[in-house]
């Protein structure tokens, strides 16, 4: 019986509206968008070709340049098989079995369902190929040694497909799946320890050292320091239009996420994500605005001289 319940939830989680028509490409496009792949794999700032990579991700561990994921055989992933892509998403390894840096959030994508991985492959392999060489990452010398990633994985990487929670509603499970496996909210909104592993007890409680020096706010339902003063529909609305309940508009990386990813989801999926986010433990964690060193008056003045 328990098994059957699990199977039913399983189906609920994997069901995508586009799949109703049986069109795998549409399902792939939907999940691909929900997963925000294009946000990082397109260098929008420099008008780069879609999915041809080259976008710089500045992190406290160095600058990563996202790779070309178009089906170009020479510079993209044109020689990859579906199994190669599945291995990258599930195990964080490239087509030659080499470890990938966790700046590629396989820590989340490992939870994708088989059907969604297949759909992503079907969609992605049909994208127009773009010939654009990958830029090498700009990392400190001690991080250039890829076998180190193996140790990192042993410490912080928990592979495995998303397991639905039978005690929760199908909407909650859908939201949990989208938030943790697909949209990977926690990858930016959870602080990392000195080794770059997510601090699980501070799940989604905000990250001061976000990508490109941005601060990812606390999105747990804590009232004073998180988004506890929002309603679930406020959050769903924010993921659609970018407007907070105070009438402020999302900026920086989150504006890209909304434009390229969450605004394309169905309303039900946005509400499901909101339902899940509001079920997270409220963590009191003030993410204070701190002046960036380069913004300090003194240094700036010196620049003017």
């Amino acid at each position: 019986m328990r098994h059957r319940v699990a199977v039913i939830f399983w189906l609920a989680v994997g069901a995508v509206p586009a799949a109703a028509g049986g069109d795998v490409v549409l399902q792939g496009e939907y999940i691909f968008r929900a997963a925000g792949c294009a946000v990082c794999h397109t260098d929008e700032k420099h008008h780069g070709a879609p999915l041809a990579g080259g976008r710089a991700l500045k992190t406290p561990f160095g600058t990563f340049y996202t790779p070309n994921i178009t089906p170009d055989p020479e510079t993209g992933i044109g020689k990859w098989t579906e199994a190669d892509l599945a291995r990258a998403l599930r195990e964080g390894k490239d087509d030659e079995g080499e470890n990938l840096y966790p700046s590629f959030p396989y820590t989340s994508y490992t939870h994708l369902t088989d059907a969604d991985v297949h759909a992503i492959w079907t969609y992605l392999s049909g994208r127009p190929p773009v010939h654009q060489k990958n830029k090498p990452h700009d990392l400190p010398w001690y991080l250039r040694f890829r076998p180190l990633i193996g140790i990192w994985k042993a410490l912080f990487f928990q592979p495995g497909v998303f397991q639905p929670h039978p005690d929760q509603s199908s909407a909650w499970n859908r939201g949990a799946y989208l938030a943790t496996a697909v949209s990977h909210c926690g990858e930016c909104h959870t602080p990392r320890n000195a080794l770059g592993g997510l601090e699980r007890e501070l799940n989604c409680a905000g990250n001061r050292d976000g990508i490109d020096g941005a601060v990812a706010p606390n999105i747990t339902p804590d009232k004073p320091t998180g988004i506890g003063h929002w309603s679930q529909s406020d959050l769903a609305e924010y993921l659609e239009t970018g407007m907070t309940p105070d009438g402020d508009y999302a900026g920086d990386l989150m504006a890209d996420v909304i434009d390229d990813s969450t605004s394309h989801l169905t309303k039900d999926d946005r509400l499901a994500i909101a339902k899940y986010i509001f079920s997270l433990p409220a963590v009191e964690n003030e993410i204070k605005h701190e002046m960036h060193p380069h913004k300090k008056k003194k240094e700036k003045k010196e620049n003017y001289d």
Partner: protein, 153 residues
């Protein structure tokens, strides 16, 4: 006649001395505070307008107050970002000044859309109002996307 010329000269001299002082009277910190308050005011009116448009509250008769306010407050956004107001307690990215043409273009888009939104409310057509509201919001977001650093909630 001579007296008049002299007094004109005197006033002119006083003005010539005072003008630079007057122009530079504003401290960058105060400008930053002022523009943050302006942005908050715009946000408050946008949130209020959104609540009415979505039917969360029934203050339809007051919608135009909010749209007129947004139109007035977005009239000269680049003017809120003068030179030298780029350091201190600000979330403005350096690009506001280094990529000024693009910044002004986006601000102009917001201005035009705020006007359109105010006009739409006068038509009373809920569909046009909703569309123009959404477009204006996209204008706000497009500027925040590239010209504001996310540093707090």
């Amino acid at each position: 006649m001579q007296v008049k010329t002299r007094s004109v000269l005197a006033i002119g001299t006083v003005l010539a001395i005072l003008t630079p002082v007057l122009l530079h009277a504003a401290e960058p910190e105060d400008i930053i505070k002022y523009r943050k308050n302006m942005m908050k005011a715009i946000g408050a009116h946008m949130a209020a307008a959104g609540a009415i448009i979505q039917g969360k509250v029934d203050y339809k008769s007051q919608l135009s107050e909010h749209t007129n306010a947004v139109q007035a407050l977005t009239w000269d956004i680049p003017g809120l970002f003068p030179k030298d107001s780029d350091f201190g307690d600000t979330q403005a990215k350096d690009e506001v000044w280094s990529n000024r043409a693009e910044f002004e273009k986006r601000a102009q888009t917001v201005k035009v859309r705020a006007e359109a939104f105010a006009k739409a409310v006068k038509t009373g057509n809920p569909q046009i109002i909703a569309t123009d509201f959404k477009q204006l919001g996209e204008g706000c977001k497009s500027c925040h996307d590239d010209f504001r650093k996310k540093e707090d909630n």
